[in-house]
């Protein structure tokens, strides 16, 4: 990281212009003094020429005048030297003090900013190109000049003055720097206002094509907002207006019974959610990555997911109809509902292996298990009566029969784990649990029913919040004492029966 980069701004007077002024004044003061002294010496020369050949008393008088003129000329240098010496002393003292105070100010502000950002894990990361930056490039609001190091430096402790237009730009956020337009120095795309304001938490949604990742994250975000804002006083906002608009448009589309369009981006733009807990000093800034399922089709595509190096937790979405053993067993039903089910074509193990390949390459191989939590989510449980196998009815029954299980969430986790193992994914489960210290299994339905072009009633998701809330609690974004009450909504058995 280059701490010093030349900026289109004036340096602090004490580091630059002050010294040049000093040099210029001393040099030009003596040049002018020389011109003034020359006047006196020329007069003396004139008197001397006049006295040549004159009577002795005239010569004497002339020499008296000449000596006087020489003294007068010489004194020009003496006075100039005194003035210059006083100026040098005053200027050097003032500049040195100024520079010292500025350096102390810079040091204190830099150390405080560094310590604050490290303590709260606040980093500037581009949601588009996923690269880290020491600081964004700020744009001068008057002349659009780009200031790549708008922080306390020799260009100004509290403010920098743009060289192109003279506008004073605040060099720290408390003075209004965050209100300036800023871009990523790598991809040059604008950065939204939330970047660099809160503790970063990076959560990718992993899953093959058609697993329902986008439907899931939109519904889960909506449930998160409703529950945590409504019940627990959190403030959850999108930091980018475009994300907010897209989210609202997606909700409208889901409310009219239409599925969301497939995500086209192999390398997704992160959706930034600012989550502020009640009385929290610093908000959390969640980066949610919803890559197209094709990102896991090929290793080359997976390797493009650079954001894995920051990952704080993973939501792994599994389409139950992409599990080969399950598909074989329910081939007829799946074929009958293929249009609505849209089973993912990518095998679960392949998705997992590519995810691990990227994860290990980004985070590095470790002897211990990775600390990042993984939420394994089986979606589409509204179909083929899966809700009865790995949903709340089954969880109720399991809790009743197994006193070791403290809650329905634990029961669902056990049910889903057993479900995966029973359909030849035992290796996947074992490997996942041997790699990650915190793994939990969930089942949900992002839509609540099978999509039907003729049905414009709103989708009603089932248990979409639990995986996201668990992951965010593990990542210390949500407070564990404020876990939402367990959702009791169960799909009506009649509705389930319709899909069998």
């Amino acid at each position: 990281m280059n701490i010093y980069t030349p900026q289109p701004a004036y340096k602090i007077y004490a580091f630059d212009r002050g010294w040049r002024v000093l040099k210029y004044v001393v040099r030009h003061l003596f040049l002018r003094t020389q011109a003034e002294a020359e006047w006196w010496f020329k007069k003396a020369q004139g008197v001397r020429h006049w006295s040549i050949g004159e009577d002795w008393y005239k010569v004497y008088a002339a020499w008296v005048v000449i000596v006087g003129l020489w003294i007068a000329g010489g004194i020009q240098y003496v006075t100039a030297t005194i003035v210059a010496a006083l100026f040098i002393a005053a200027q050097v003292t003032a500049l040195s003090l100024w520079a010292a105070i500025s350096l102390i100010g810079m040091g204190v502000l830099s150390i405080c900013t560094f310590a604050y950002s490290r303590y709260y894990r606040i980093f500037f990361r581009c949601p588009d190109c996923h690269r880290d930056m020491p600081i964004p490039t700020y744009i001068c609001p008057t002349c659009s000049a780009e200031h790549s190091r708008l922080w306390p430096s020799i260009y100004g402790v509290l403010k920098h003055r743009c060289k192109a237009c003279g506008t004073r730009l605040p060099a720290i956020s408390a003075f209004g720097r965050k209100r300036l337009l800023r871009i990523c120095p790598h991809c040059r795309r604008p950065l939204n206002v939330g970047i660099g304001e809160g503790t970063n938490v990076h959560v990718p949604i992993v899953g093959g094509p058609s697993t329902g990742k986008t439907n899931y994250i939109v519904m889960a975000t909506q449930a998160l907002k409703q529950t945590y804002e409504g019940k627990y006083g959190y403030r959850i906002t999108f930091t980018d207006d475009e994300h907010q608009r897209n989210f609202e448009a997606n909700l409208r589309q889901l409310a009219s019974g239409q599925e969301l369009l497939k995500t086209p981006d192999i390398v997704p733009q992160a959706i930034n959610l600012k989550i502020r807990a009640p009385k929290a000093r610093v908000p959390k800034l969640a980066y949610v990555y919803d890559a197209a399922g094709e990102a896991f089709n090929k290793s080359e595509n997976t390797s493009l997911q650079e954001y894995y190096k920051y990952v704080d937790g993973i939501i792994l979405i599994i389409d139950p109809f992409s599990i080969a053993a399950y598909r074989r067993l329910h081939q007829k039903e799946i074929e009958r509902l293929r249009g609505s089910l849209r089973p993912s074509a990518l095998d679960v193990m392949q998705t997992y292996e590519r995810m691990m390949q990227m994860f290990e390459a980004s985070v590095g191989l470790r002897k211990k298990r990775y600390a990042q939590p993984v939420a394994v989510v089986i979606t589409k449980v509204d179909a083929l009566d899966l809700e009865h196998d790995i949903g709340l009815p089954a969880a109720h029954a399991l809790v009743a029969s197994d006193p070791a299980l403290a809650s329905e969430d634990e029961a669902i986790s056990k049910l889903v784990r057993d479900f995966l193992c029973s359909y030849d994914l035992e290796n996947f489960v074992r490997d996942l649990e041997s790699q990650f210290a915190k793994v939990r299994y969930f089942s949900c339905s992002a839509l609540g029913r099978l999509p039907n072009p003729g049905d414009t009633s709103s989708f009603d998701p089932v248990r979409v919040l639990e995986p996201l809330a668990w992951l965010l609690t593990q990542s210390k974004v949500l407070s564990p004492v404020q876990q939402p009450a367990r959702k009791q909504a169960v799909m009506p058995p009649l509705v389930m029966q319709q899909h069998r």
Binding site: R32, I71, A72
Partner: protein, 68 residues
């Protein structure tokens, strides 16, 4: 007047002239010389101080205008 008197008169005249010349040099010419030299010097230094101050001011303004 005999030669002796003439010699005495000449010597006395020379002595008086020397005394007058001495007093003239000491009390008139040298002070006058000093006054002229010092007068010009003082005038020059006064002017020099003014000019140095004026030059300094102008150069300082110039320097800052160049740096603007």
């Amino acid at each position: 007047m005999d030669d002796g008197c003439m010699i005495v008169l000449v010597v006395a005249g020379i002595i008086i002239a020397a005394i007058i010349a001495f007093f003239l040099v000491v009390y008139v010419i040298l002070p006058a010389t000093g006054i002229v030299i010092i007068g010009i010097g003082v005038a020059g230094s006064g002017w020099g101080a003014f000019v140095a101050g004026r030059n300094f001011y102008h150069v300082l303004i110039e320097a800052h205008q160049r740096e603007k």
